[in-house]
Amino acid sequence: MKAAVVIFPGSNRERDAGRALRDASGHEPHYVWHADHELPRGTDLVVLPGGFSYGDYLRCGAIAGRANIMDAVRAHAARGGLVLGVCNGFQILVESGLLPGVLMRNAQLRFVCKMQHLKVDRADTPFASAYHVGQVIKVAIAHGEGNYVADEDTIDRLEHEGRVAFRYCDADGHVGGSANPNGSLHDIAGIYSAGFNVLGMMPHPENLIDPLVGGTDGRGLFASLVDHFAATAA
């Protein structure tokens, strides 16, 4: 698996993403500068990491969504290439038009960082094959603007097409209510593109790869990707 992590000014979880990719695949990812026009040749997976690109002084992800490199990312996605956007990366994906909807300020109007449980909605994708549907995983969240909102038609379409990747739940797997940390519609924590090759999610699986640091429930996502490319190559 050849992964490329895009660095925007203000990205700050690029090393976390890099560590998770390295641990899963045994290879250091390429780091790509936002002002570049091309991805490294043969890139399999593009990762847009967490952070505060351009300070998030405009709408989160709005400026990064229009960076030079995003044309290459859109072309990669259009060819069916895989793209993972985490936190600010998810915000950039919706601003760049690769995913629908928008991330609003958290309903309680405060930044929130804590361990959060998610329910896996779909496991037949390159990102989630190591999980099973209905599985409850624990990952970290750390965001001020993770409240997923879209118009009714879009939400209906996402649900109808089974494009919700993860939903916020409690430790027992009960979705919604007080387990929803930010007010997201339908408790959505992450969604897929129509082709299931682009995943945007607010939580940080890259921070849950180590038993000493919270747990290892995030490893599944990276292991799924490694498996996917191993199978493709075979």
Binding site: P9, N12, R13, G55, R110, V213
Partner: protein, 737 residues
């Protein structure tokens, strides 16, 4: 614009915070009347914040050396050796005055400033901590200040990308008009790649990096060197505005630049901005500095030399560069979208010369600006000793069960989750122990080593007895690091006090310093950096003396460190250290009995060391995985915290004997720890303790879903948690007072 050659009147001198005799000293030093810009430069260099004129004499008494200390006080931050070619760089600094006036921006710039101090030395920041003190919860401004400060600390650290892993927060009416915002940053660098402020070489370029200079923060350091009154809010324009995005770019650009070998000296522009940083670089290197202000990148047109020299605009750095590598350096800064300008050069004149529009605006002797700053031996009186309160003399107004629930739900001891969930404490993926335990533990790179980090002080102890309080602050930091299994290495001190011109406030300062020094010496825990914040006083009333101690320790293997929560049901609970039932200045006496009085618990440093070394040895030998220090609220609160952390209950079967039960439960005797161990190991550990002369008692066992105190109904862990978690969110939502 005020012309540079304006006549210097006594009123103008006073407006610059300079006393008549200090002005006389300036006249003697330069042999003429200063220009307006020069007056501004003197006021910036000679205010309390930058010159330490009231504190220097006493700070010199603190122990600052140890074999593992690479750099002690006097640089941007302290540096200690943590082995394998790595160094830990850290410092704590206050941003009290600005945070009271404008809490969000005051707090953000406090965090930004301390992060800059750390990466200026070549270290990548890996953790932040803080210590916050607010006024009484019922004071009309308190809620607003809490909300703004917490959002500001989070807003900066979260965006910059450093985990905020620990801290403390307290409320007391004595902070009503002067809150405390102390921020600590910790970084990791290669031990042989530390960067310093000392300029070398004549004719080398002085380079300005980072954000542009604006009119914000002019005289910020002077504001921080005066007490407040009812008109303090009018000082809002002296508060700077933080830009964590620019700081993140500055970090990456500086670290990249340092790799090129082009940086000769580097100093961040913090308090007193361009003035202080330029003078320090020159003075430390025995060189003169010449600046051409026409080259300074400015945010607005028409700024005067005076304004540029005193601006405290944030996210700026000054460097002396190797001229051969200037182009390479500039390319790095252009890549990161930051300003890069050569604004002057080093000279051999030992003069600090500032030119603007071709005119000399200031020409001053550079060494004397710092070295000849006033130094005061302020009169000080020792605080009156407080009476010792015998445990038998304190009646228990509530059942112990009710008292415990009240204490863990009160502002002092309630859960601060509402605060630390607004801080990204998980970024970088190395947070082995998150906020809420004794010390935070952050893995170093890919491990197995880790840093144990804590910030501590008990202001009510310092008020009652500054010497014992000073000792206790250091001892508690040492104990918190010990309780996770860390080897305490060094501290940074952030000394917050009232007006030093009052002998009683100065006496508190002197007393606390004496206590801190004694504890640092006895515990081999030297001071490597720090900051003094005086004049924390409004309308003649000072804060509680608050010498915050930021402690750093080393864990050999993060997989082996101890935590607060019980590991299993049926573990034996051991209490290490003597219990005398000390209720004087305890939270029990204050919050349950309504009496804020008495002498604080004495700190026996030899006992502290003996007990702590014993506990650390048990953790490091793998025999203890659960340890918690007994501090505020005593044994009962410690047990409740252990139960809440794990979801496992406990029964206190044999409390320390010979005391009224409430004194045994809530007394705040020092040098104590609660350990939970597998029962098979308990007897051997007790025997070992006896042999080492360490008092140890088997007091009960873990298990069940409730905490049971002797003679009381069991309190379910759920009830403990709801009492503990409720107050702060309710208060911030306007539901509690």
């Amino acid at each position: 614009m005020i012309p540079n050659t304006i006549a210097i009147t006594p009123q103008l001198v006073a407006e610059h915070g300079l006393k008549p005799d200090e002005y006389k000293r300036i006249l003697e030093l330069i042999g003429r009347e200063p220009t307006f810009t020069e007056l501004g430069i003197f006021s910036a260099m000679w205010n309390e914040h930058c010159s330490y004129k009231s504190s220097r004499l006493h700070l010199k008494t603190l122990p600052t050396k140890a074999p593992w200390v690479i750099q002690g006080p006097g640089e941007n931050a302290g540096v200690i050796d943590i082995g394998e070619g790595l160094a830990c760089v850290f410092k704590m600094e206050s941003h009290n005055h600005p945070s009271y006036i404008e809490p969000y921006q005051g707090a953000t710039t406090g965090v930004g400033g301390i992060l800059r101090d750390v990466f200026t030395m070549g270290a990548r920041p890996v953790a932040c901590l803080n210590a916050l003190r607010f006024g009484d919860p019922s004071h009309p401004r308190t809620r607003h200040l809490v909300s703004g400060v917490v959002a500001g600390i989070g807003g900066y650290g979260n965006s910059f990308g450093v985990p905020t892993v620990g801290g403390q927060m307290g409320f007391h009416t004595r902070y009503d008009g002067n809150i405390l915002v102390n921020a600590m940053a910790v970084g990791i660098a290669k031990a042989d790649e530390i960067f310093y402020a000392k300029a070398t070489g004549v004719g080398n370029p002085i380079v300005y990096l980072g954000s542009k200079t604006g009119r914000d923060g002019i005289h910020g350091a002077t504001m921080a060197s005066a007490e407040f009154d009812d008109k303090s809010e009018e000082k809002r324009p002296t508060v700077q505005v933080g830009d964590p995005f620019a700081e993140k770019l500055l970090l990456e650009a500086c670290l990249e630049l340092m790799q090129t070998g082009s940086v000769i000296a580097i100093q961040d522009m913090g308090a007193a901005g361009l003035t202080c940083s330029a003078v320090e670089m020159g003075a430390k290197g025995d060189l003169g500095i010449e600046l051409d202000l026409d080259k300074v990148p400015c945010r607005e047109a028409g700024m005067s030399a005076y304004e540029m020299m005193l601006s405290e605009s944030q996210e700026r750095m000054l460097m002396v560069l190797d001229p051969a590598k200037e182009k390479q350096a500039e390319a790095i800064f252009v890549k990161w979208g930051l300003d890069f300008a050569v604004i002057g050069k080093t000279t051999d004149t030992l003069r600090f010369v500032v030119k603007h529009h071709g005119e000399v605006m200031a020409d001053l002797p550079i060494k004397e600006l710092g070295d000849e700053a006033p130094l005061y031996d302020r009169p000080h009186v020792a605080s009156a000793p407080q009476p010792t309160i015998a445990p038998e003399s304190v009646a228990a107004p509530l059942s112990n069960e009710k008292a415990l629930l009240k204490l863990i739900g009160a502002p002092e001891l309630c859960s601060k989750r509402w605060v630390w969930e607004q801080y990204d404490h998980l970024i970088l993926g190395n947070t082995v122990q998150a906020p809420g335990g004794d010390a935070a533990v952050v893995r170093v790179l890919d491990g197995p080593k880790g840093l144990a980090l804590t910030s501590d002080v008990t202001p009510r102890y310092c008020e009652a007895d500054p010497v014992e309080g000073g000792k206790q602050a250091v001892a508690e930091a040492w104990r918190n690091i010990t309780a996770v299994g860390g080897q305490p290495l060094a501290i940074t001190d952030n000394l917050n006090f009232g007006n030093p011109e009052r002998p009683d406030a100065m006496g508190q300062f002197v007393g606390c310093i004496r206590g801190i020094g004694a504890a640092c010496t006895a515990l081999d825990f030297p001071v490597v950096s720090g900051n003094v914040s005086l004049y924390n006083e409004t309308n003649g009333r000072g804060i509680l003396p608050t010498p915050t101690i930021g402690g750093v320790g080393l864990v050999d293997d993060v997989a082996e460190c101890a935590g607060v929560g019980f590991g299993a049901e049926g573990e034996a609970l051991l209490l290490i250290g003597d219990t005398a039932g000390w209720l004087g200045q305890s939270v029990y006496l204050r919050d349950i009995c309504g009496r804020e009085e008495g002498a604080p618990p004495p700190v026996d440093l030899a006992v502290e060391r003996r007990n702590g070394d014993f506990v650390r040895g048990l953790i490091r030998s793998g025999r203890v995985r659960t340890a918690h220090d007994c501090s505020d609220g005593g044994l009962a609160v410690a047990l409740a915290e252990m139960a809440m952390a794990s979801g496992i209950g406990a029964t206190l079967e044999t409390p320390p004997p010979g005391l009224p039960l409430h004194a045994a439960l809530f007394g705040e005797d020092q040098a104590r720890y609660v350990l939970a161990v597998t029962p098979a190991r308990a007897d051997a550990i007790l025997a070992e303790a006896r042999a080492a002369g360490v008092p140890a008692l088997r007091i009960g066992r873990s298990g069940g879903d409730a905490l049971t105190l002797p003679g009381e109904r069991p309190i379910s862990v759920t009830a403990l948690r709801s009492a503990h978690e409720a107050w702060l969110p309710d208060y911030m939502a306007g539901k509690a007072a």
